[in-house]
């Protein structure tokens, strides 16, 4: 059945696949996770704010991001980021932005909406009495949040945040639509150059499976270990 196939192409291109492709994918995943959790937490605090206007704005942003496909958002930012860049530095023409930066902005802004919903649930899972106790001690809003509420919210939500990160890792493969060279993009380039679609895409599927399955199993393990004792 596999007589017509050439699996050696995987060995020959492995260096390129992992050095160029996988490092792009992993760097993007890691930075977008960090940025996404940071902005997501801010968004969650805004959504829970007592100022109606702030919570309405944050809420609309989150709902908008969650209602449109990621592919469309990738296209949006791919064309929008050059204009935003020009606006920031005051240039007249749209600035040239590399694929990586464009992807990083996209995934940070998009995943922030999903991390926001997780952090919102996390903040709400902290007992109200904790907040009152913070205020009673004379702490202000930022101190209460930073020292009392958020540490517990993060701890409660750590498994869900990590699960979302595994999904983010898989989603980064969609940068293929703007021809960025992530792991799948690198494999697609080799596959098309050498006419080895079956071997390359099969290999990509196996690698994604091993990484995602491994990470999810670790998360599951962690979940049972840090389950809060109440």
């Amino acid at each position: 059945m596999f007589s017509g196939f050439d699996f050696d192409v995987i060995r020959r291109s492995a260096g390129y696949l992992f050095r160029e492709g996988m490092s792009f994918t992993l760097t993007l995943t890691f930075l977008a996770m960090a940025g996404g959790i940071f902005f997501g937490t801010l968004l969650a605090m805004l959504r829970l704010s007592k100022f109606r206007l702030l919570s309405a704005i944050a809420g609309s942003y989150v709902n908008l991001m969650r209602s449109v496909p990621l592919v469309l958002v990738i296209f949006w930012f791919f064309f929008l980021v050059p204009y935003i860049g020009a606006w920031i530095i005051g240039a007249k023409d749209p600035v040239k932005v590399g694929a990586f930066l464009s992807c990083l902005v996209t995934f940070t802004m998009f995943e922030a909406a999903y991390y926001c919903e997780i952090m919102r649930a996390g903040i709400q899972s902290v007992a109200r009495g904790q907040v009152w106790a913070g205020y009673a001690l004379g702490l202000d809003y930022w101190q209460t949040m930073g020292k009392i509420v958020l540490p517990q919210a993060f701890r409660n939500m750590l498994p869900v945040l990590l699960t979302q990160t595994v999904i983010l890792f898989q989603d980064t493969s969609l940068v293929y639509v703007i021809s960025a060279t992530d792991f799948l993009g690198a494999a697609a380039k080799v596959a098309n150059r050498d006419g080895r679609l079956v071997e390359m895409y099969g290999f990509v599927a196996v690698v994604y499976f091993i990484v995602s399955f491994g990470l999810s199993s670790l998360v599951k393990n962690l979940q049972s270990r840090i389950a809060i004792i109440r």
């Binding site: 059945m1 908008l64 969650r66 209602s67 449109v68 496909p69 990621l70 592919v71 469309l72 296209f75 949006w76 064309f79 929008l80 204009y83 020009a86 606006w87 007249k92 023409d93 749209p94 999903y114 997780i118 869900v160 699960t163 979302q164 999904i167 898989q170 989603d171 493969s173 969609l174 293929y176 639509v177 799948l184 697609a188 679609l197 079956v198 895409y201 099969g202 990509v204 599927a205 994604y208 499976f209 995602s212 399955f213 999810s216």
Partner: protein
């Protein structure tokens, strides 16, 4: 910053000769829904069976279903799309493979897209159904056994009717995900809404108008589905049953 807004572009004719850009985008919505609805029907069927079997006694079957879920959950949707479109025809017997590759234009990519999205969505449905079944009080199954129902009858008359009513809200969001995920089919050549917005941008250079229109159409579709499902949810809600199924977290 210079960008020439031109909202009247939607009434211009698109170069393919099918009519205005607006009609072109709406036809894209038609394809989006055609992929998503077909995939959803298959996903619902497979997902219910797999989710149910995972809770039923029978260690081997449950393990098999667990493996099915892990495989389709841990490979990115885009990679699965490529497996169905590029890889599968090569692995099948030559005659069958060639027949698939020579399907006339829209169907050659529509069929793999639907198959791919069906199986991808089915594991999510399976997880929701399993969570729903497990959230039922154990007494329900016991009561079924106590009144002399067989295992299959207990599932048919007691467990599943309750489960469906409980998991409707999480299934609604999975259906919305299914609609959004159908956009990935553009990579194998299905001209659905996102693909057409991208094509419109290439023909007319009106990037932001095209994407704004696509975004609005997705938002409206979402609103219609959510409103429709809310009516259905109110109708089938189990009276006096406050708890809803713990939805499986994460995902889009």
């Amino acid at each position: 910053m210079r960008y020439n807004w031109n909202w009247k572009i939607f009434f211009d004719l698109e170069p393919g000769g099918s009519g205005t850009y607006l009609a072109y985008l709406l036809a894209g919505l038609g394809w989006t829904l055609a992929v998503a609805l077909a995939a959803w029907l298959v996903a619902l069927t497979i997902g219910t069976v797999v989710g149910t079997l995972r809770t039923a006694p029978g260690a081997l079957v449950a393990k098999f279903c667990a493996a099915y879920v892990e495989i389709f959950r841990n490979i990115p949707l885009l990679v699965q799309m490529f497996l169905w479109f590029f890889v599968l025809p090569e692995l099948l017997p030559t005659a069958l493979g060639d027949w698939i590759k020579q399907l006339p234009p829209p169907w050659g990519s529509y069929v793999p897209a639907v198959l791919c999205l069906s199986l991808y969505t089915s594991v999510r449905v399976a997880e929701q159904v399993r969570a729903g079944i497990q959230s039922l009080p154990r007494g329900q199954t016991m009561a079924g056994t106590a009144i002399g129902l067989s295992l299959a009858q207990t599932y048919r008359y007691v467990v599943l009717p309750m489960t469906f009513r409980i998991v409707l809200p999480p299934l609604t969001s999975e259906f919305l995900n299914c609609i959004k995920n159908s956009s990935v089919a553009l990579t194998i050549g299905v001209m659905e809404l996102t693909a057409r917005a991208r094509a419109m941008q290439e023909f007319s250079f009106q990037v932001f108008e095209a994407f704004t229109a696509a975004t609005l159409i997705y938002l409206l579709t979402n609103l219609v589905v959510v409103a429709g499902m809310r009516v259905l949810e109110n109708r089938v809600r189990v009276p006096g049953f406050v708890g809803t199924a713990p939805s499986v977290p994460g995902g889009h």
